[in-house]
């Protein structure tokens, strides 16, 4: 029969995200739309890397709307709402689609100091996420997500020297149980009940790059690790509570137009270098952002 694997949907809001040190000024609002495509043909069952003729290439497309508002210069609120479609190029399993999970974040800059001509900042980012629709989570790898509520806290340190920066951050993610449509399931033993314990996780990320008023370029390297879960056995189906680990490298670019004040374009990609119970995914994204100024003293960027 068929089998395969699943990759947690990757971040889609990349400009002023929950993983960078960019803050939006007070009473500014940044609205954006992003297209992300994510695909893989190889995946890992535990540590066993394989492809699957019953899946072929699994493609996940994400269309997301997001926003970022400056409550103060040091406190932002962000949201992201994605619509996701999946499709397998081979096999018989039907692709899924639907509104996925709403994430809401608070991003706070409690501490910033100048050291000579450089700036050191410390950030805290709280994120909460909840499904926006009753999509099927127990149809991996076709499902559009895990249908789990989760909350996370990230601490980030950013060091900036002129136009170059280096940032490092760590995140702890706590995931809630989910209810599936079955009343028994096998992990490392058979469990009776429809409630599934989704493992918590953490993420470590370093990024470095160049930021000017008009152009940003950065590279990232990150490691996401499940704190629990279990491996997909050889030729088994994936399951929402599998351990899912991956090391991913990526680049991101952003360009702000001079002529059209407030308009920005962003694009980039990621690649999974190494994983466990995930697909070796390539991600490419592109988006458009527009900055609105709701503050009283208009001119100022």
């Amino acid at each position: 029969m068929l089998l395969c694997c699943f990759l947690l949907v990757t971040r889609s809001t990349r400009a002023q995200t929950t993983t960078d040190a960019l803050m939006i000024p007070q009473n500014f609002y940044c609205a954006g739309a992003m297209y992300t495509t994510n695909y893989w043909t190889n995946y890992w069952e535990g540590t066993f890397k394989r492809d699957n003729g019953n899946i072929g290439k699994l493609t996940t497309n994400t269309y997301s709307f997001f926003g970022n508002y400056g409550i103060t210069n040091k406190l932002d609120v962000l949201f992201n709402a994605p619509y996701v479609t999946t499709n397998a190029s081979a096999g018989t399993l039907k692709g899924q689609h639907g509104l996925q999970d709403l994430t809401l974040s608070l991003k706070w800059l409690p501490y910033q100091t100048k050291i000579g001509s450089s700036v050191l900042g410390a950030y805290a980012i709280l994120t909460g996420s909840t499904p926006l629709s009753n999509y099927e989570a127990d149809f991996q790898p076709m499902s559009i997500g895990l249908h789990s509520q989760w909350a996370s806290i990230r601490a980030l340190v950013n060091y900036r020297l002129d136009r170059f920066f280096l940032a490092a951050s760590g995140e702890y993610i706590r995931r809630g149980d989910i209810n599936i449509d079955r009343n028994s399931y096998y992990t490392t033993h058979l469990i009776y009940g429809n409630r599934v314990d989704i493992p918590n996780g953490n993420n470590w990320l370093i990024s470095s790059g160049y930021r000017s008023i008009h152009f940003n370029a950065e590279a990232t390297l990150q490691q996401t690790t499940s704190l629990g879960g279990f491996d997909i056995r050889k030729n088994d189906m994936p399951f929402p509570s599998n351990t899912m680990n991956w090391t991913m490298a990526g680049v991101m670019f952003k360009y702000s137009f001079d002529r059209v004040s407030g308009l920005e374009l962003t694009a980039g990609g990621d690649y999974v270098l190494k994983g466990r119970n995930v697909g070796q995914a390539t991600t490419i994204f592109g988006g458009v952002l527009y900055l609105f100024n709701f503050s009283k003293n208009k001119p100022k960027s």
């Binding site: 029969m1 068929l2 089998l3 394989r50 003729g53 019953n54 081979a90 096999g91 018989t92 399993l93 039907k94 692709g95 608070l106 409690p110 805290a124 709280l126 909460g128 009753n134 099927e136 127990d138 149809f139 789990s148 509520q149 989760w150 909350a151 996370s152 806290i153 702890y172 706590r174 995931r175 809630g176 149980d177 599936i180 449509d181 079955r182 009343n183 028994s184 399931y185 096998y186 033993h189 058979l190 469990i191 009776y192 009940g193 409630r195 599934v196 314990d197 056995r233 050889k234 030729n235 088994d236 189906m237 399951f239």
Partner: protein, 518 residues
């Protein structure tokens, strides 16, 4: 300013805690909450019930027990007292677990092993598939691949062996009429509900002995795990004050002796040859073509050989092999016929217009790889009902044996139909039909789920008439889930339910005449 900073710190500390704490993490497995078994009726005359295979309890050896005044018995009592003087919480958990019932827990263990071993082999580099080997069970792919027919047979053998072993045990229980340890010695506490059933040989040990012996054959890579479970159960009986060691030893021995009768049958019931040969697989295609039908091809990549095509030849429990052929339904709609196209169009509709409710139904009944199979699902349904009935162990075993013999026999009939007609799945006829669950690797007509569910509903409705249409409603849902999942035509599920009900009636007739009453 200071106050502001305090609030800031409070916010920083409390928000993450509130946030992270808002995710609900609590899994409760309802099978861990079952109450200790307290039979409403000990079925003292179960020695007169009709067994499945054994001819007489007297063909087995159960030595007379030691006198209750003997030093050996007194030593056994002291062993109980020693445990009871210092029970740990882990030991109490063992008592809580096993006191729900031996037949119930062994049925759960079997479902667990089926789910664990229900994995299709991964292909070789050349695109062929390795087959599990009972003579080399640890080599990849491990033996067995507990697919639906293999599993149905396993459930039948384990349940029937437990039942016959308990019938034999009742004979000796009455013959030797030994009271429970807590009756013979007031210094022994009964940590589970007391029973007036004679305690030599122990019914728990009989069930364990039979289960271990037959499961060694069915799951040869799991012997250590199975033996450890049995040892734990024996320890439970002693710790709970329910049996002395001598009663357990005699019980395990009797259970194993009875199970050997079943193991001998299992070795010669033709299941070992069910995989067939490449020549036989080609012959199936020829048969379909000669009927003017399109023959089945595997929709897996690489194409996988058909699943146990000669399972149809396995010897059933409830009737003979001629009856299998006699019950074979009329042919499916010929590929390309108007009736066929109409049904294929309906499948395409369900493929293209899924609703969330239908998808939930498909997932609920998927019972695909890595699950305890449809038979395991129906065992779980049955077990959930049986725990409410406070059955004796022997009635538990008898009722599961009726259910699971029907499951095995309906698997034989269903596989006979599938491989006699060898027709194509909807997706083979129309690749636009994408499915909401995996397509099983065998022909379409008739639906396995419908056969299993029709048979299970007939047996359970007989055993529990006060449940009304509960089981037939569930069977209908199970069979419709296969149409909604876009892997079966409507005629597959309708005819499958009918065959299932017919096979189920054979088990009902057996139940009506086995001396156990309803």
């Amino acid at each position: 300013m200071k106050k502001y900073r305090f609030f800031k710190i409070a916010l920083v500390v409390s928000l993450p805690v509130l946030f992270l704490g808002s995710c609900n993490k609590s899994i409760i497995d309802p099978t861990n909450t079952y109450k200790p078994l307290a039979p409403a009726n000990i079925d003292i005359n179960a020695d007169t019930w009709k067994p499945v295979l054994i001819t007489s309890a007297t063909t087995f050896t159960v030595p007379a027990p030691d006198a209750v005044t003997s030093p050996a018995y007194v030593a056994d009592l002291n062993e109980i007292k020693g445990y009871q003087a210092g029970l740990t919480s882990a030991q109490r958990a063992i008592i809580d677990y096993w006191s729900a019932g031996a037949v119930l827990r062994w049925n759960e263990i079997l479902r667990d092993l089926v789910a664990k071993h229900n994995l299709p082999p991964y292909q070789n580099d050349d695109g062929s598939y390795p087959a599990p080997s009972s003579t080399n069970p640890f080599a990849y792919p491990q033996f067995p691949f507990a697919n639906p027919p293999y599993a149905a047979r396993a459930y039948a053998y384990v349940s029937a062996a437990q039942y016959d072993a308990l019938v034999a045990a009742y004979y000796y229980k009455k013959q030797y009429n030994r009271s429970a340890p807590y009756v013979n010695d007031p210094g022994v506490n009964a940590l589970i509900p007391k029973s007036t059933l004679p305690s030599y040989p122990s019914e728990d040990a009989v069930v364990a002995g039979a289960s271990v012996e037959i499961m060694k054959l069915l799951f040869p890579t799991e012997i250590a795990f199975i033996e450890q479970k049995a040892a734990e159960e024996m320890q439970y009986r002693i710790m709970a004050g329910a049996n002395v060691r001598g009663e357990l030893t005699a019980g395990q021995s009797l259970g194993a002796q009875v199970a050997d009768v079943f193991a001998a049958r299992a070795r010669t019931d033709r299941a070992g040859k069910a995989i067939g040969t490449p020549d036989e697989w080609v012959q199936l295609q020829t048969n379909a073509t000669s009927r003017g039908d399109q023959y089945w091809i595997s929709l897996e990549s690489p194409a996988r050989p058909p699943q146990l095509p000669l399972f149809s030849k396995v010897i059933p429990f409830l009737f003979d092999t001629l009856t299998v052929v006699a019950m074979r339904p009329a042919p499916p709609n010929l590929a390309g016929s108007a009736a066929f196209q109409k049904e294929a169009a309906e499948v395409l509709y369900y493929s293209q217009n899924p609703t969330r409710d239908r998808q939930a139904q498909v997932e609920f009944w998927a019972d695909g790889i890595g699950t305890s199979t449809p038979t395991g699902h129906w065992n779980a349904i049955a077990a959930n009902e049986f725990v409410k009935e406070n059955y004796s162990e022997v009635r538990w075993a008898r009722n599961l044996a009726l259910l699971n013999m029907a499951q095995m026999d309906v698997a034989i009939c269903c596989w006979d139909t599938k491989y006699f007609y060898f027709n194509e799945r909807p997706t083979q006829a129309n690749p636009k039909i994408k499915t909401l669950t995996g397509i099983p690797n065998f022909p379409s007509y008739t639906s396995g789920h419908s056969n299993f569910s029709g048979a299970a509903a007939a047996v359970l409705s007989y055993l529990l008439p006060d449940r009304g249409t509960k089981f037939t409603d569930l069977a209908t849902q199970a069979s419709l889930s296969r149409l909604y999942g876009a892997i079966h035509y409507r005629s597959d599920i309708e005819v499958g339910l009918q065959t299932g009900a017919k096979v189920g009636q054979y088990a009902v007739q057996r139940g009506q005449s086995d001396g156990a009453g309803n």
